[in-house]
């Protein structure tokens, strides 16, 4: 390719890319920079309205967070909540994917259609449906359990459990469908060879199928971790903004409340930066684990 062609290509490419670049830089790049910047200032209601000058705090907001017992408990809750959701999603998704390989097409289609419905339900609609199912007085679940009047959202742990169940409900289909496709993609000869060598079902599962599925398993795990760590809508709607006295806060909702309810934008931004960094660490860690084990993503 000659230099002239490349130059012409470059100019045309720039023209074609300009709208996308403009949007991405303006609405993703610049806000990321702004997020870090805001987190370094004392940015409250007065600063927003221009009534007070900005004070540069450096890492002051971060120091405040690290000293705040509330932040640590919310961080712990976020990690615990995400872990429960991820484990639940993977267990349900993986066992149903295996189940789907054992049944005839009509049963599989029934299951996949139901899962597609759960998957497609918008988070807001899904949250309200679950709230109504578990409503203290008019909920079907209390009616069945004979516990009419019991409020699932009042207690911290039942509230978290309810939200986690809803999150698993709408996110297991992704895991199930992906793993099912992965299992089906394993060549029949491989399984035949294992059978000929006298491998038991359990041995085939752990020594043949599992290693072959590992890249897929890692991908769905990363997806779930990233997704469940930043659940916002379900918590916000089902616990009415983070639970009674903020007992059901997770980092994202906490950052939102700090910024928009308490007008502590600097502090909220600092929480946002921490969330982003944790997610980046998770992603990088997984990618390195992938490379160490010789997998190609």
């Amino acid at each position: 390719m000659t230099a002239a062609v490349e130059k012409g290509d470059g100019r045309a490419a720039l023209a074609y890319l300009a709208p996308a670049l403009l949007l991405l830089v303006g609405l993703l790049g610049y806000p990321i920079y702004q997020l870090v910047l805001i987190s370094l200032f004392d940015y409250g209601q007065e600063q927003v309205s221009g009534g007070a000058p900005l004070t540069f705090l450096g890492l002051g907001n971060y120091a405040t967070l690290l000293r705040d017992a509330r932040f640590w408990s919310v961080l712990g809750q976020t990690v615990g909540f995400a872990a429960v959701c991820v484990v639940g999603t993977l267990l349900v998704g993986a066992s149903l994917a295996v189940l789907a390989t054992r049944v005839r097409a009509w049963a599989r289609t029934t299951l996949f259609l139901a899962a597609l419905g759960a998957w497609a339900t918008p988070a807001v609609a899904g949250s309200t449906i679950w709230l109504f199912l578990f409503d203290a007085n008019f909920g079907f679940v209390n009616e069945v359990l004979g516990t009419t009047g019991f409020s699932w959202t009042y207690d911290r742990w039942t509230a978290f459990g309810l939200v986690a169940a809803q999150v698993v409900w709408c996110s297991f289909p992704f895991v199930m469908v992906t793993l099912y496709a992965g299992i089906k993609a394993i060549p029949g000869e491989v399984l035949e060879a294992a059978a000929l060598d006298g491998a038991s079902t359990a041995r085939t599962a752990t020594s043949v199928i599992l290693p072959l599925l590992r890249p897929l398993l890692i991908v769905v795990t990363i997806q779930s971790v990233i997704w469940d760590f930043k659940v916002f809508t379900q918590i916000y709607i089902m616990t009415n903004g983070g639970g009674i006295a903020g007992r059901n806060l997770v980092l994202n909702v906490y950052a939102y409340q700090q910024a928009f309810a308490a007008s502590e934008y600097g502090l909220g931004a600092a929480i946002g930066v921490v969330t982003t960094l944790i997610l980046l660490l998770v992603t990088v860690g997984y990618l390195r684990a992938l490379r160490r084990s010789g997998e190609v993503l």
């Binding site: 074609y16 139901a114 009419t148």
Partner: protein, 276 residues
């Protein structure tokens, strides 16, 4: 486990998974007295559309529905054009920073958009002073953010479809005297239509489902609120109108469900492709 037992288990699981959706539609069709009964039954003998009527007329729910359609529609159309142009540039042209850009597109998808709510709120506040229709309290602000969020994935996904069109076609079109512009819109664009449909659906769902940004950006102009927020209108401290809430949820879920069924195969293929 024998196949028979496995099939029974499968059907039971499917029933459990589908039950919340069944309950949603059932509640939406129940007369109000049955909805607020402390003895709820999993069927109704007198289905009525009252809840849907209430949802659509009271509290200008219909208006919110239209707003959601406008936002999602605008995001789809705009992201279609922008991502098509970008994907073409990234597959058909050779230039120095191409690889860097591709890697950036992947990295950007990792950014937790929820964390960007705070700075984007300020961005939209400044936009309001320059172009009010794209600033806070206007639907344009929602179009802009969802456009930006759906672009990286849309470009990444479309790239494969554009690359699959043989270069010879472009050469033939050029020989026939077609300008680059004409080739782009009259030859390439129709050829990548399946890819455009798949990415459009994803952009649509993304914008349609959004709760966080609608909540943050549309603060005081209730008439510019979107569907996910409108559902909250019916939630009151002491007296929830569950019939209307479930009717609204049904109206909100149906379009997504239809789209999901339509592109399901392509979606799975796309997922599998992205994983490879």
């Amino acid at each position: 486990m024998s196949r028979g037992i496995a099939e029974v288990v499968t059907v039971v699981v499917a029933g459990v998974v589908a039950f919340p959706l069944y309950w949603m539609v059932l509640t939406a069709l129940k007369p109000e007295s049955e909805v607020v009964s402390t003895d709820p039954r999993p069927w109704t003998l007198v289905p009525t559309l009252d809840s849907f009527v209430r949802a659509l007329t009271v509290q200008s729910f219909g208006r919110y529905l239209v707003n959601s359609l406008v936002v999602a529609g605008a995001v789809v159309v705009l992201s279609l054009f922008v991502s098509f142009l970008a994907a073409t540039a990234l597959t058909r042209f050779r230039f120095r920073s191409r690889t860097t850009l591709l890697v950036m597109l992947l990295v950007v998808q990792m950014v937790p958009v929820e964390a960007l709510t705070i700075p984007l709120f300020f961005v939209m506040r400044s936009v309001r002073d320059v172009a009010p229709a794209f600033g806070l309290n206007h639907l344009g602000s929602l179009v802009l953010v969802h456009l930006a969020f759906s672009l990286p994935f849309a470009i990444w996904m479309l790239r494969g479809f554009v690359a699959a069109v043989p270069v010879e076609l472009e050469e033939a079109a050029t020989l026939d005297g077609a300008s680059r512009f004409r080739f782009l819109w009259q030859v390439l664009f129709p050829l990548v239509a399946p890819g455009l449909v798949a990415t459009s659906v994803l952009s649509f769902i993304h914008a349609w489902n959004d709760f966080l940004f609608a909540k943050t950006f549309i603060i005081s102009a209730a008439e510019n609120q979107t569907l996910p927020l409108a559902l909250q209108v019916f939630i009151k401290p002491d007296q929830n109108d569950w019939g209307a809430i479930m009717a609204g949820s049904t109206l909100m879920t149906i379009p997504v469900l239809v789209f999901f069924v339509l592109v399901q195969r392509r979606l799975v293929a796309g997922l599998a492709g992205a994983v490879k």
